[in-house]
């Protein structure tokens, strides 16, 4: 049987501002900020109090409900501030970075003699565990459960995504070490997908099941991969890891160092010279975006992540824990005269209702953050299905989430999905419904009620 995965339903949103393939060392960030909100569902218990000195790889906090899951500092330095919100919730941990960095030494890990238990303990202790995520619920993997398979998507199809074939270059040994270790944690297979042109460093990995994916976005989403290969059933768990995180895991196993290095793409139509940077998790975005990048006083939106699922960050904000791309696009907070009925040539649309993006499928667009209309009830049908390749009824599952019918959510396939799987349906939604938020709230409800 062929391992190829072909999808037809989907949509490649072509945007201006793709990164040029050069890597630049980013200015070293003076401060590193970790926000527990990046780890959905985690209640942090602080270990490194204000004033503590930490090394790169030292534990900052752990998860209250799974105490073994520790979160490490990407830099060495001093914890200068713990920002708290209502009810003393930890909003951010700010670390002033040392100039020469020092690393916690977790020791070289001997994979040959390792068992599942020792691999797990090692990853948990070193703070690499949060890189492993699970479905159902799209949260950090529960270390007490064993996954039926592990999925890694080595192909990024999202708009303006960092090209993994480029960013992973030269990281073959780290990737191999990481998948070897992960392979011990599951009785099933480790599934890896690569793009159809397979010049990916991932293509040469051994001990994995390799899949080539064809088709438009979301062909590179790990959710699509899972749905097409081995969908999650009730009671089952699968794990997912993104390739850039595999590199960090691999380096830890090989050298004992927790090196939170990211090859990051700075993209978007507001960026003058979009290109790649080498930086660290939690770095200030200001260290990257202004040099040959965006205008200081420009009216732009800075997004940590891609334009479909990333988080908006302030200009003095920081890179989040998982992303490998920063997108900057113009804000769209302006009115447009008769914008709802005049012919549209400069925006993307899946319809042809006086929208003309179908005339020129290769054209790259400069989209802003305007919603192009107001929030409405669900009216049109069939538009979501055109961009949604999973074997799930998207509108029906969204409605089930909205009226919180747990049985129906379960029956319609809620265990299989993550919010990012609904990014495209949200993008094309004529009623401007917040699909990803609806799914996230639905998953949270299920996690709370069913667990």
């Amino acid at each position: 049987m062929s391992n190829d995965i072909r999808i037809k339903k989907g949509l490649d949103i072509k945007l201006k501002g793709e990164a040029e393939k050069t890597v630049e060392q980013a200015v070293i960030s003076n401060y590193c900020t970790i926000r527990p909100e990046d780890f959905h569902g985690v209640t942090p218990k602080l270990v490194a109090k204000e004033g503590t000195t930490v090394k790169a790889g030292s534990t900052l906090f752990y998860d209250k409900s799974h105490e073994a899951v520790k979160f490490s500092s990407p830099v060495s330095g001093k914890v200068i501030e713990v920002v708290r919100g209502p009810k003393r919730r930890i909003d951010a941990i700010k670390i002033e970075a040392d100039k020469p960095q020092s690393y916690e030494d977790y020791g070289k890990f001997n994979l040959d003699s390792a068992t599942a238990e020792t691999v797990k303990t090692h990853l948990l202790a070193s703070g690499c565990w949060p890189f492993i995520r699970q479905r159902p619920y799209d949260v950090i993997a529960n270390p007490d459960k064993s996954p039926k398979a592990i999925f890694i998507s080595g192909y990024a199809s999202a708009p303006l995504a960092a090209d993994l074939d480029f960013t992973l270059q030269g990281k073959e040994s780290e990737l191999q070490a990481a998948v070897n270790a992960l392979g011990k944690l599951t009785e099933g297979k480790v599934h890896v997908s690569v793009g159809k042109n397979a010049s990916s460093p991932m293509a040469g990995l051994s001990g994995v099941t390799l899949h080539k994916v064809f088709g438009p976005h979301p062909s590179g989403n790990v959710g699509t991969l899972i749905n097409k290969i081995d969908p999650v059933n009730k009671g089952e768990v699968v794990w997912t890891v993104s390739p850039q995180d595999l590199v960090i895991i691999g380096e830890l196993l090989l050298t004992g160092k927790f090196n939170a290095e990211r090859i990051l793409a700075l993209v978007g139509s507001s960026v003058k010279n979009p290109r790649y940077f080498k930086t660290l998790i939690g770095s200030e975005v200001a260290t990257i975006i202004y040099d040959k990048g965006v205008d200081k006083d420009g009216n732009d939106r800075i997004i940590s992540g891609n334009v479909l699922s990333g988080k908006q960050v302030a200009p003095d904000g920081n890179l989040d824990y998982y992303s490998n791309v920063i997108s900057v696009i113009p804000e769209g907070d302006d009115y447009e005269f008769f914008g709802w009925n005049k012919p549209v040539f400069n925006k993307v649309s899946t319809s042809r209702a006086l929208t003309f993006s179908w005339l020129n499928p290769k054209k790259k667009y400069d989209l802003n953050t305007n919603t192009n209309g107001e929030h409405r009830a669900f009216v049109t049908t069939g538009t979501y299905e055109e961009v949604f390749p999973l074997d799930i009824y998207p509108m029906q599952i969204l409605k089930a989430c909205m009226y919180q019918d747990l049985d129906e959510m379960e029956a319609l396939g809620m265990y299989e999905v993550a919010p990012e799987d609904f990014a495209l349906t949200e993008f094309v939604c004529v009623s401007k419904q917040p699909h990803q938020k609806i799914i996230r709230q639905g998953l949270d409800l299920m996690l709370k009620e069913i667990g």
Binding site: D333, W340, A353, V379, T380, K432
Partner: protein, 408 residues
């Protein structure tokens, strides 16, 4: 200060006022709002509900304009003032200013009443419930004048619109929540409340009812009348119109339903723009053809003879059903309403097929009121959620099976 800024400042200043949705509804007609994305996707497609609805209205405009000409043409023709068309679609007898002006002054008030009353109710409900005015009525408001007889009294239309919008839509929660197509609810209300105005041989031609009243009051005039093709067939009469007339639309009937040609063009436009569902349109035509063929077979094998009251419509060739009456209009513009139709792609096939099938069945078996498509669509509106339920269950079952296979 520009208009844009003035309106913006006005909106900001009054953002807590209860009546703001009414202002916003007008404001957003002038300007695409300045709203930006928050969380979720940071970019959005160009389409919104206004654009979608506007596309449907554009598809109906040719029918409306043709309807205006046709109202005048039928009127003048019945009075014997002009000759019947002879040279196809662009016949000079049809496209005259005098024809147009008769229809224009009859139909424009229908459009104004439909929109005025309907949107008025939408505004009131939006303000009471504190949400934005949704665009659903934009299409309904255009559909309504197209599916009523030209001489219908305006107060009747207003009452029906109030009923249709309040009972057909708002009680369910407004646009997107209704079970029945509001335009058809309005028409069904008219049909059951004022049947003399919705059927027979007087209402389809402007002036016919008035003329009858004059005759009744003792004036010496010739009565004028004009039946729809369906009415004629139902009574087993000879049809005076050529098939070509029927297809092009030079026949009596509701305002916008007569020109199959323009309806097909509108349908193709909706399919091309991906706003209307080609699945529903195609399957509905297939359903009508199947039912028509069955009836043709029945008459061909002699099970029903000419003495039967069903014979006239049953023996009409199956393809003729597609061009007469409101079938084409209903299929293209009403069956495809996404809110009340089936919402799954598989469901749309079943839903459309049954609409076509049932339409023709009602036509044949209900000679008193041979327009079956309205009732067929309303009936299938009610069944659409059931159809969807079984389609979605198919997906659920697949998931259950997968789980069982794992456990076993």
């Amino acid at each position: 200060m520009s208009l844009k800024n003035k309106l913006h400042n006005f909106k900001v200043k009054n953002k807590d006022k209860k009546w703001l949705p009414a202002f916003s509804a007008l404001h957003t007609f002038l300007f695409l709002p300045n709203e930006t994305t928050h969380g979720g996707t940071h970019i959005k497609v160009a389409d919104d509900l206004k654009r979608t609805m506007n596309t449907v209205i554009m598809a109906m405009i040719p029918c409306l304009i043709f309807g205006m000409f046709n109202a005048g043409y039928q009127h003048h023709l019945a009075l014997g003032e002009i000759q019947a068309v002879t040279s196809g679609f662009f016949s000079p007898e049809f496209w005259t200013l005098s024809n147009f002006m008769v229809g224009f002054w009859k139909i424009l008030p229908l459009v104004i009443v439909s929109y005025g009353v309907g949107l008025g109710i939408e505004f009131i409900f939006a303000i009471i419930k504190g949400h934005e005015v949704e665009e659903g009525y934009l299409v309904t408001g255009m559909l309504v004048p197209l599916i009523v007889p030209v001489d219908i009294p305006l107060w009747m239309l207003a009452v029906a619109v109030i009923f249709g919008v309040v009972i057909g839509k708002e009680v369910f929660g407004g646009t997107g929540m209704n079970i029945l197509n509001p335009a058809l609810t309005i028409r069904a209300f008219l049909f059951f409340a004022y049947p003399t105005w919705m059927s027979g041989d007087k209402v389809w031609i402007h002036g016919a009812v008035e003329r009858d009243q004059l005759i009744a009051s003792g004036q010496n005039l010739d009565a004028i009348s004009g039946e729809t093709i369906l009415g004629g067939l139902a009574q087993g009469k000879e049809i005076a119109y050529s098939l070509w007339d029927m297809f092009l639309g030079f026949i009596p009937g509701s305002v916008g339903e007569t020109s199959t040609l323009l309806i097909i063009l509108g349908g193709l436009f909706l399919i091309f723009t991906k706003i209307g569902s080609w699945r529903i349109m195609l399957s509905s035509v297939i359903g009508a053809i199947v039912m028509g063929l069955i009836f043709n077979q029945v008459t061909a094998s002699g099970w029903i003879t000419e003495s039967s009251k069903f014979y006239g419509l049953m023996s009409a060739p199956f393809w003729e059903h597609l061009v007469i009456g409101g079938f084409a209009f209903g299929t293209v513009f009403m069956a495809t309403d996404p809110v009340t139709a089936s919402q799954t792609n598989k469901g749309k096939w079943i839903y459309g097929f049954l609409i076509g099938f049932v339409s023709i069945m009602i036509r044949v078996f209900n000679p008193a009121y041979p327009e079956g498509v309205m009732l067929a669509i309303l009936l299938m509106n009610v069944f659409a959620p059931t159809i969807d339920h079984y389609v979605v269950q198919g997906n659920v079952k697949k998931r259950m099976k997968r789980l069982k296979a794992k456990v076993a």
